[in-house]
């Protein structure tokens, strides 16, 4: 028995942590909010092999499995890497696209405009069409996290062959990767908050010494700490083609969504008014958390799936 990331995933995670500390700063994220596709950052991710992480080595990728995938995404979440991060990694695993960071793939929303379409090079429609985008955003719908702007798009359609299994795996990976990204975002907000409450003084002492600050933070940490092993278990279930892969993926997304949202809520409160301004960085990570906690299925959606799996769904 060994429950944890394999060495290659740990090495990738640590490497990414180092480079992203300088390659993706809050300034980078703010540029993305202004519409910058952050090509330099994506090129750097390409040099690291991140976009082709799930692509086999024969096909030029890193050939890592879902454990490497969640390890990398947790760090990308921590750094707040803008753009369709999860979507690109899982799309490159099924569509022949460059892995050097020049392709950023959004996933066609079920109805209406697509998140990230304005800064992407491609849009994948799961019914089996890949669009190569020919011009920028047609019509942009603003989002709370401005790096996720929805847009309609025009592009050259290219048929790709997607089996039901491909689509099922794609959806599992999408929910799982988003869960990992959320826990990285949560860890970043926690770090910002720990730094803040150790520095900020009121009533003559650091506010981090107050139990009114400590206890909600401790509870939020319990949430994220117990969600991470479930993310790992779900990754392993996908690797094993386990019958329970869907169950574990739903658990991972439900727990990570709730835990990351809870963390964002507590961290904002611990900052007092300082968190309630776009001039301070916390909101860059909080708003991504709000969006992603609802993307790829809400916590309630996934609990419903778990209930169905367990046979406890009430008959309507």
């Amino acid at each position: 028995m060994y429950f944890g990331l394999p060495d290659d995933a740990v090495a990738l995670k640590e490497g990414l942590r180092d480079v992203l500390a300088t390659a993706c700063t809050p300034t980078t994220i703010r540029a993305a909010w202004d519409g910058d596709p952050c090509e330099q950052l994506w090129k750097m991710l390409g040099e690291f092999g991140v976009p082709g992480l799930l692509v086999s080595e024969e096909n030029g990728g890193l050939g890592l499995d879902e454990l490497g995938f969640v390890a990398a995404l947790e760090e990308l979440g921590y750094a707040g890497v803008p753009g369709p991060v999860v979507e690109t990694l899982i799309s490159l695993a099924i569509a022949p696209l460059p892995m050097d960071g020049s392709a950023r793939v959004a996933v066609q929303a079920l109805n209406g405009p697509t998140p990230h379409a304005a800064v992407s090079t491609h849009v994948l429609d799961l019914s089996g069409t890949l669009y190569e985008l020919t011009n920028g955003a047609d019509e942009v719908t603003e989002t709370v996290d401005r790096s996720r702007q929805l847009a309609t798009f025009e592009g050259e359609p290219l048929d790709i062959d997607l089996s039901d299994d491909d689509v099922a795996l794609f959806e599992r990976r999408g929910a799982l990767g988003t869960a990992a990204l959320l826990l990285g975002l949560a860890r970043r907000q926690l770090d910002l908050t720990v730094d803040y409450v150790r520095t900020r003084k009121q009533f003559g002492v650091q506010i981090g010494s107050f139990q009114a600050i400590k206890h909600p933070l401790a509870d939020a940490v319990v949430g994220t700490e117990f969600a991470w092993p479930v993310v790992l278990r779900a990754a392993q279930a996908i690797i094993d083609r386990d019958d329970e892969a869907d169950l574990y993926v739903s658990m991972a997304k439900a727990l990570a969504s709730d835990a990351a949202y809870r963390m964002s809520r507590v961290c904002l409160q611990a900052h007092g008014a300082m968190g309630y301004t776009v001039e301070y960085d916390l909101h860059l990570f909080a708003k991504r958390t709000w969006a992603l906690s609802k993307d790829w299925g809400t916590a309630s959606d996934h609990r419903e799936l778990v209930a169905e799996h367990l046979g406890i769904r009430s008959d309507v």
């Binding site: 944890g4 401790a218 940490v221 700490e225 790992l232």
Partner: protein
Amino acid sequence: MDLRETEAEQQFRAEARDWLEEHVPHGLPSGDTKEGFALHLEWEKALFDARYAVVSWPEQYGGRGASVWEWIAFEEEYYRAGGPQRVTQNGIFLLAPTIFEFGSQEQQDTLLPRMASAQDLWCQGWSEPGSGSDLASLKSRADKVDGGWKLSGQKTWTTRGAFCTHLFGLFRTDPESERHHGLTYFLLPLDTPGVTVRGFARLDGDEGFAEVFLDDAFVPDSAVLGEVGKGWSVAMATTGSERGLTLRSPGRYTATVDRLLEVAADRDPDDSEVQRLAQAWMDAEAYRLFTLQQVTNERAGRGRAGESSLNKLFWSELDIRLHELALDLLGPDAELEGPWSKGFQFSLSGPIYAGTNEVQRNIVSERLLGLPRK
């Protein structure tokens, strides 16, 4: 990641399952009453005779030398089979790991086999009337005399103290000392002259508590566990066990959730109850997975200070949620005396014993997050 059990582990689990299915007693009364306790002791002796009382201990002390993975598997099977809460738990799960770490060879050889066979039954003497969460303020003292110590003071909230035979506790050996300095960990029989025990009832009405009065009770030097004056660090090893894995293995909660789902199957849960049932199942499973990760990390030397406080916060809150949901499903029947109402009342003690959850939140924020103490 390797989630497979070895062949030996599978065999261990299968044998334990077969034995437990055949032997676990059902419908035992509470072990926190005099009559119930006696019946639980019979069960403890049956476990010992089958060498299932203390599976993780070395064979010479009555165990099987089981690995921690096998121990987790045993616990899963134990609670899956409906095994009762262990009345010996404060000895075998809390004191024993501390004796293994700090005890002399002689202490190990004399105390452990009698503990395993439920001949000696241990209770914990830490809290005092004036020292609860602030344990380091304790006042019970031990005065040095020829060949030993004279203990005096009062301990309280001693679980099953009225039925146990022995006490482990903290006493101040250096009268000049303050806080966690100058404390010593003592082990003593409750029939020592000068010791008086008075049982009293818990929230659920059972006589599960006791207060212990010590009036110049003499104990020999060999009653000291670890070094004189180092009792605090010895005690902290015990609290790590109490908050973390050894006392509250994941099998307890996965088994409770299984029973909860049985309750739900007989009723018609509404949408919000369905959501809570799914959450309950996920949380118990998350606790199990967290535990596997924790054991892996500890074996790899990557354990974190204060991590057992995360366990304690999680399992204690989870246990209450599981029972609250069961009572909601039972509706008007929830008020009837029975396993769920009993279990609910017991679950309410979870955030209080083993260090209140308020103390645990301090530990998480100070040791894991590095927030300032004051």
